[in-house]
Symmetry: C2
Subunit: 326 residues, 2 copies
């Protein structure tokens, strides 16, 4: 059993080194957290299943990082700063000590990089696929939380980074994409493997945004959802969507991939709304934080679904709908 | 699709009615929690997998209740009062609307009964077995948290309720137990199906206990763990273990079931240590709270594993070791 420790030894060996003070050395069943005084807490949780949200043969460190990052992305969208996270890990029977060491190393690197220590968790076995759930807790000043439903008529709408890289990376991962230069191919594959949570933008969101949401199920579907919950609508000119050079190369080689980029999941970029009066300050703060933000339209009154149009104002033609993790 | 809604409709239909104010109507990706002023937070998370922690054909409401209750049991052991919980639900392909309605109804009943509202979650599909993870958050006064490692030499050791009912119920569920009167049989089966979190005892634990732990992996194994982490030991006379009439009947019919009761998992009773000076007050507070507590021994200095002895002081003979969920 030396390379297959029991649960307690597994926790002590691989996970206790990642624990922050609230984790009590992972020697208790619970975490004890002193919440920062005068702050609200933001709690988010996301589950990932092998074969659904990632490939079972992805590097274990990347699986761990993705599981943490999709939760950090939610905190960023709300303007919250991470405090810590709990991990549920359901391991299939064929796990190895090497696999778990790689998993813990990736998780530890990200926990340190994003200042979000492990505070607790649970490890169980499963006869099914590897399944992870992470619950992350963040803090935000009262009144600064960027709700999904906070978009108001007249607000400017922004998207961070570039859209569609991950969906295109997934196509490549499935052997379905066009031929691309190695650098472009690797960049898209990497964006699918490893989301980039936009935590650097969280302070600007807390300060200036009226609403925030991260893109997990695709730009088109998630923007539609955000505007519907907010009770507003918009006309979005699709040619304004920010694309990476790699995505542009893929779409140049196969234009039918543009709707995939616009609707595909796993971007983990943010959609942010700001009052028009705060737009310039938000853009300056984003530049200061080193996060690209692209204005993509303006919210207007109305309960209709947003209109997605081409550069001549005609309805944009989608190949298929928004990706859903469910 | 009327009886198989998508994720958003599923959440709106089944889970939004269970959400507390922090859940934002489950219309956001996150919960926004105002932590009670001047309290520490206790965070606990437990995952349950069909076929490992419960039977896939258990009533859906009971599966939901068990998932919540095993977490509430951890809060109780720490002297914490529940604030809310997040649910991760990985559904296999064959779920039905009826199943989910039953699941949500059970969850909602317990959320109300234990004053622990749903604050968020995530629903995904899985090609594997039904898998749930619940993360519960509670509050405790600073300095009142009952750590697992807090047992001190001289402390009195208590166990709540009765030990072993659940392990015996599991035997019966597997068709392995002795013939019993219907009432006894049903009581043991019910204790396996539905843990009874001892939240009523949490205020007494916060006030008087030096340490607390819930029994998930069996009395013997969990007490051993608690004393080891605390750096103390004890001699436990096994005849002092509180048994229910139903467990006594089962053990009377088959004495080899006594070690099963003492070592088997899923009790979700609590082991509590108090300073000797607080023992009388703790017992009075427990009586006031309506939770039976039985003194089972005294912690003494020493790093050795606790001794489990029979009524003549001889080493107790175990059939097999502590159950492990891992």
């Amino acid at each position: 059993m030396t390379d297959r420790p029991g649960e307690d030894e597994l926790i002590a060996r691989y996970f206790a080194p990642l624990a922050g003070p609230a984790g009590l050395g992972l020697k208790d069943d619970v975490a004890l957290l002193k919440p920062p005084a005068g702050r609200d807490l933001v709690v988010t949780t996301d589950a990932l299943v092998a074969g659904v949200h990632f490939f079972a043969d992805d590097p274990p460190g990347a699986i761990a990082r993705k599981a943490l990052r999709v939760n950090l992305s939610d905190l960023a969208a709300k303007g919250a700063e991470p405090i810590g996270f709990a991990l549920n890990l359901a391991l299939p029977g064929d796990w190895t000590a090497d696999w778990l060491a790689g998993f813990a190393a990736g998780l530890g690197d990200d926990a340190a990089a994003y200042r979000c220590p492990l505070i607790g968790g649970d490890t169980v076995r499963t006869p099914g696929p590897l399944t992870l759930a992470i619950t992350a807790i963040g803090a935000v000043e009262p009144g600064r939380f960027a709700a999904r439903g906070g978009v108001r008529s007249g607000d400017r709408l922004y998207v961070t980074g570039t859209v569609g890289d991950s969906a295109l990376g997934l196509r490549l991962r499935l052997g379905q994409g066009p031929a691309l230069a190695d650098a472009d191919r690797l960049q898209l594959l990497d964006r699918y493997l490893l989301p980039q949570p936009r935590l650097a933008l969280a302070p600007a969101i807390a300060r200036f945004a009226s609403a925030g949401m991260d893109i997990s199920d695709g730009f088109v579907g998630d923007l539609t959802k955000m505007l519907r919950v907010s009770g507003v609508t918009a006309t979005i000119e699709m040619s304004r969507l920010p694309l990476s050079p790699a995505a542009s190369a893929a779409i140049g080689a196969d234009p039918s991939l543009f709707p995939v980029a616009a609707s595909g999941g796993d971007d983990y970029e943010l959609i942010v709304a700001t009052p028009a009066s705060a737009a310039a300050a938000f853009e300056a703060a984003a530049a200061e934080a080193g996060v690209a933000v692209t204005p993509i339209g303006e919210a207007v009154a109305g309960a209709a679904a947003p209109r997605f149009v081409d550069h001549e104002g005609r309805p944009f033609k989608f190949g298929r709908g928004s990706f859903s993790h469910f």
